[in-house]
């Protein structure tokens, strides 16, 4: 089975000076993360939440030095899914 990482944008809004976007990510086939395309020129902040039916022992990480990334790379346990929230320049 091919490892796949599937992110999606499910919401968008604006603050006074930034664009906020949020969405989902899903790792399958043994995937342990990938790049989230938040549709922004520069991501200034991103945080993650895990989707599962019970607490998990391993949390995800953002493998970037922010602010800088256009498509932040996240690292997760195998086959984990979850949610992300990003702030970026408009």
């Amino acid at each position: 089975m091919t490892a796949t990482f599937t992110p999606a944008i499910t919401g968008i809004s604006r603050s006074s000076t930034k664009r906020l976007k949020w969405g989902t990510y899903l790792c399958a086939g043994g995937s342990t993360g990938g790049d989230i395309d938040v549709g922004a020129r520069q991501v200034e902040f991103i945080m993650l939440a895990i989707k599962a039916s019970s607490v998990v022992a391993t949390g995800s990480s953002v493998d970037e030095t922010l602010p800088a990334a256009v498509k932040p790379t996240i690292v997760t346990p195998s086959n984990q899914g979850g949610y992300w929230l990003a702030l970026s320049k408009p």
Partner: protein, 193 residues
């Protein structure tokens, strides 16, 4: 051992001032105080960075809300780097929720969305049926931050597929560590039924 933090951005979400930045531990440091540059801080969320996952989640070692933003104590794994985001505001919209395990700290509105900051103290069964009505009745995203004095060996999770639920009731199920406390940030709308 050194702990440093930096502010890398700021904005306003409705009534809330928001600042975010980075933290860095080195030489064995396991946390310290983040100077958020804010006054009355309502909530702080942390996100570990780096190339590896973690079994020791960073925690906020404070009794939020309403603490001075100049020194927000966090506890991390040794030499961990990460991101933080802090929310400041004067509370106008705080109340206990119907689920008996959570309290809404404050609500702010921006660009058609409703943002809800709250706190949770899990009651003993490891699960929380978070009920955010009447603040929200369509939840689009939710993020959790453990509050503790030591790193967390278990990560709380969201047991829902957003937006939830289809009938636009503002309830969401969480799995948490028994009797632990958390902050949450929920984003959503008040749609019709």
């Amino acid at each position: 051992m050194t702990f440093t933090s930096a502010i890398t951005g700021k904005t306003k979400i409705g009534r809330w001032r928001v600042k975010y930045g980075t933290y860095t531990n080195d030489s064995g440091s396991v946390g310290g105080d983040i100077n958020t540059g804010l006054g009355n801080v309502l909530a702080v969320f942390l996100q570990k960075t780096g190339a590896a996952t973690t079994t020791d989640l960073p925690v906020v070692n404070e009794s939020l809300p309403h603490i001075a933003g100049s020194a927000i104590s966090i506890v991390t794994k040794a030499d961990e780097t990460g991101l933080w985001i802090a929310f400041e505001g004067q509370v106008r919209d705080s109340y206990a929720t119907a689920d008996a395990e959570s309290t809404i700290i404050d609500v702010s509105r921006s660009d058609g969305k409703i943002y809800v900051l709250g706190s949770i103290t899990e009651g003993g069964d490891g699960a929380v049926a978070l009920d955010l009505t009447p603040a929200l009745n369509k939840i689009e995203a939710l993020f959790l931050q453990p509050l503790d004095t030591a790193v967390s060996s278990d990560a709380p999770v969201v047991n829902e597929t957003f937006p939830v639920p289809a009938n636009q009731s503002g309830c969401v199920t969480l799995a948490t560590v028994t009797s632990k406390s958390y902050l949450f940030l929920a984003i959503g709308t008040r749609g019709g039924t």
